[in-house]
Amino acid sequence: MSAETARLRAKTWICATVVVLSNVFGNFFLKRGMPASLPTPLAYIAALFQPWVALGVLLLITWMLSRMTLLSWADLSYVLPVTSIGYVLVALVGKLFLHEEISLKRWAGIVLIMAGVALVGAGSSVQTAPRSQEPAR
């Protein structure tokens, strides 16, 4: 593995970790603060000012920005499976903190998702072709 490939891979894993954690906890806080129903369009806006929901939105903005950063050098078809570990973590967070039920089928799904992530993460390069380093004008 060349130094450039190693640099890119390390940078990718750091950024992917930020993407995954901000998404998982963003969604968790969103669910935690979400009212039982949203009957009117105004209720959606009002919900955004609930403290937990606001924290969730802040983390989801972090998720969007870090995902865009990751996409500045990595292929979308690489980013998708690698960040899918978030689906597993969300299920775990739901069980641990929101006391949601997770059936055997869901655990089996979690194992398959992790296998898919491992396959893509370990077995292919981060990008199809090297990207430019200068922003386009």
Partner: protein
């Protein structure tokens, strides 16, 4: 209602993420993570029409997701939206012209099977 919301989330997210990938590819690799450099990158990105399209597209699934969270569990809502994986991998291959080798297809297929089981 649940499946209508999921359909909206999946379709808008897939289009949004492809736009984000196009916009960021056009921008180039972000290498400098100092606050000033990140601010300059953000300023450049506000003029990137693909990125603007991405932000607009992601607002739709955000509000649909808020509604979905009021009627389902978190451990259902998030994994179920991973159906975007399938759509986006196909779009990555045919719209973004990425080299999707058999490992990526296999990985994406496993993720999709896993997500299907999680959301059942």
């Amino acid at each position: 209602m649940k499946f209508l919301l999921l359909g909206i989330i999946v379709a808008a997210t897939a289009v949004g993420e492809v736009l984000a990938a196009m916009g960021m590819r056009r921008h180039g690799e972000i290498r400098d993570f100092r606050p000033g450099a990140l601010g300059r990158a953000a300023a450049t990105l506000t003029r990137n029409r693909f990125v603007i399209g991405y932000v607009v597209c992601m607002a739709i699934p955000f509000f649909a997701f808020m509604r979905l969270l009021t009627i389902t569990n978190l451990s259902y809502a998030v994994p179920a939206t991973a159906a975007t994986c399938a759509l986006e991998t196909v779009m990555a291959k045919y719209v973004l012209k990425e080299h999707v080798n058999w490992l990526r297809w296999a990985g994406a297929a496993l993720v999709i099977c896993g997500v299907t089981l999680v959301s059942l």
